[in-house]
Amino acid sequence: MDTRPPSQSEHAPLLTASGLEVLYEPAGGPPVHAVRGVDISIGQGQLVGLVGESGCGKSTLGYALARLLRPPARIAAGTVVFDSTDITNLDRKSLRGIRHNGLAVVLQSGMNALNPVRRVRGHFHDVLGAQQRLHAAEVDNTAETLLSQVELAPSVLDRYPHELSGGMRQRVAIALALALKPRLVVFDEPTTALDVIVQRAIMDTIARLQAEVGFTALIISHDLGLVLGATDQVWVMYAGRIVERRDSPALATGPLHPYSAALLACQGDPTAEKVELGGIPGSPPDLSKPPEGCAFAPRCWLSGPPCKEEPHEKLVGTGSVTCHMAPTKLEVPKLIRRVDGPSEPIPDSGHGAKVPTTASAAVAKGRGRHRDATTAEPLALIDVTKDFKTKRAAPSEGVQAQGLVQAVAGVSLRLEAGQAMGLVGGSGSGKTTLGRMIVGLERPSSGSITLGNLRVDKLRTRDLPRYWRRVQMVFQDPYAGLNPLHSVGYTVGRAIRNHQGLKGDDYRRELLRLFDTVGLAPPEHYAAKLPHQLSGGQRQRVVIARALAAKPQVLVADEPVSMLDVSLRAEILHLLGELRKNTGASLLYITHDLLSARLVTDQLVVLRQGHIVESGPTSSVLRSPSHPYTVELIAAIPTVQQSQTVPAGAITERPGEPV
């Protein structure tokens, strides 16, 4: 069935899809049109990236191409051809043949891709044994070779998935995919939810394997920066369509679609002298009611009358763009900017006014009226340690620690009143534990924590609520932090009652003011919503509003943007910055994301395995790091050279299509 001609031109399509449409038809819900007419092809040996915000249909498209969709999803129209075989309607049995012939998939972050009750060895036996009869020894040999290709030791074969770290599990998943001798591998968010350094290592492994083994790859990610650095070509997906398809360097230097340009503006280099970040206010449309005309129009600063009509694909060099205005000079409004020296907010003018940055407008309104934390006090940590007893072996790359784990090992730092300090480091560096000790959720094993003259580490449980009027925490996961049964107005309202003791009209006014402050306008509209009716960014705003209800002197924010799409990062960071200025509260910003740390903090502390390895003013730590670990963290960031000029590429209408 292998119909490959003996000599192949390097970029002959290995996979093509035309007119592909995918529908989710859930029982008792409206159908969701997740992929709406996609035409693409991947050449032999190419590395293609597929990017877009979450909910744009990337995974659905990837699954459709790999024929992994299951009910309620189905391919409603179009064809998928892999290696000259139409696989659109292939039955299960023939599909297995195709998979053994090399159509492999690596799933989103790989965390749950392994059977929890089966050892790694068993997984290899299953996969290799399904292709051909092999002796156990042969399987083990092959498995060891595959593991060494993904830089894992043979001892991993005897481990259960839960005994491996996230990065190791993802490597095992890649090795299993490689066992199929794949010609095409679809990677769905291969590094999401992994530590930055691990993320970088996995991407490097994928690139090296691709060169060695020579497979073709589709890399799906919401992170344009990551994809641009790793691929030859990028497809940008929005609301179920590919809106731009370009060679990676061309897209990096001159995006033609406003959406691509905006995504690109959400990336930045934290080590640059001047750092600017854009965002995309709003969220992708609900695909159960696909919009008329250009789907991006409600969020597009260029949209005009023609955009009420569906735009057509225009060919540009080897790629294409689907926008009425292309090509235009694209200047993306920036939401937040940082230059060496004192912080510099972006005045609410120019583009800022056109893009609905409700947050900044609201904060500007409230400016001066509420300077709550008047008696701000410094927060000091002296020689703080925290030991955890481990019940189980702690899974970390390679080593298994047992018994006592020292999460924080002798940390001393001082957060001055009104200052913004960043706490950065990889996972397991002790950042979150430190944050939890500062808000009193965890007690240090030794050392002292003081706010003004208050010994935080000595607080009794019943004194904590009073302490929380002064120190508040914003957690990583805006989904977990809110009670799904209560309206968000109720949630924030309870915080107001608890902390400020307001009632009646005062209470109501304060509630509306808080919603306004965090940019949820009109407040009445949002206060009545349940958490699941809000987008991730809106939920995180609610969480921040709840923290503000206490009028805290210190705000501890633990990865407040890491679970959000990059397109929302700038908005939330901008909000945090403005709030800090207007309330005078100090901010402890915990993150693994150096870019956001650069944008909102003045001081930076780098943690590694519970120790401070480096600290100082944020820009100098990032721009001239002295500790090797800081250097490693910085090197792990994918870099994109951007320039916002449109290339002189000839734009042509697609032949045979109406304009």
């Binding site: 299951r70 998979r99 929890p116 299953d126 399904a130 259960y160 299993l176 995919a177 066992a179």
Partner: protein, 326 residues
Amino acid sequence: MRYVLRRLPVLVITLWAAVTLNFLLPRLMPGTPAGAAVAKLAGQGSVSASQRRAIEVMLGVPHGSLASQYWQYLKAIAGGNFGISYTYFPEPVSKVIGAALPWTLALVGTVTVMAFVIGTLLGVLAAWKRGSIFDTAASVGCTFMAAFPYFWTALVLLYVFGFVAGWFPIRGGYSASVSPGWDWSFFVSALGHSVLPAFTILVSGLGGWVLGMRNNMMGVLGEDYIVFAEANGLSPRTVALRYAARNALLPGVTAFGMALGLVVGGSLLTEVVFGYPGIGYLLYNAVVNEDYPLMQALFLVITVSVLMANFVVDLIYGLLDPRVRR
């Protein structure tokens, strides 16, 4: 194995608590159960001094310190000496229970295991062929069966197959014409007598296992590792059994532990309806006759069997799920 060693202390402590509770309860009861028991016994015939003493050890001596009573009680239990039953006078309690236990274990134990195995397999099949006619039939049928009142099933079966058709005996564990022993005619008679009660227990229990397993399977089928296994070209059989069913089984094992624990004590209704000579029937008689010595010993047997069953299932769970092991 460290996993076993870690669980052992919990078992020992709970066992001790059960035994002690069993010691304290009759002593805390209003009135004096021991006195009542002795009086009742006297009505049945002559009570020897040693019989009287055995009852007092178990149910409470009028005089004497609690500590020394407790010590005597523990010694009696260790020797299997639970006193004398007056329902089955002059049999000692231990002998009465010893005679009933095998009946219950054989009937209810076997059927509980059967219900679990058959139900789980059907559940796997229903989930794997989700949406098929088989799935629909199994789901509807099991919901119906699970909702059907238990004693109704028993009575209907009794009436139809016992009275009307006359295929199966109506009462008892074996017919009067044979005597218990290891011979063929007894075995056949006992088997014939067990069909109706077994079927009743099976019918009432099966539906729950099918539906439970089906639901667990459906949950597991949505997991990433199932999609990944499929993407890796594993055969549907391997995916269904080794990946999906294997994981979906885990919650069922815990439920199975509880069901096993109830084998000894939970069969009261069946045994009474069918006049089956097991523990349940015994318990019923003990309660009706206010046979305190028998009741006390039965409670102990039932509690201990629940604890032991849960302990064993806990160990099995550890074998099945590497995540709880160490």
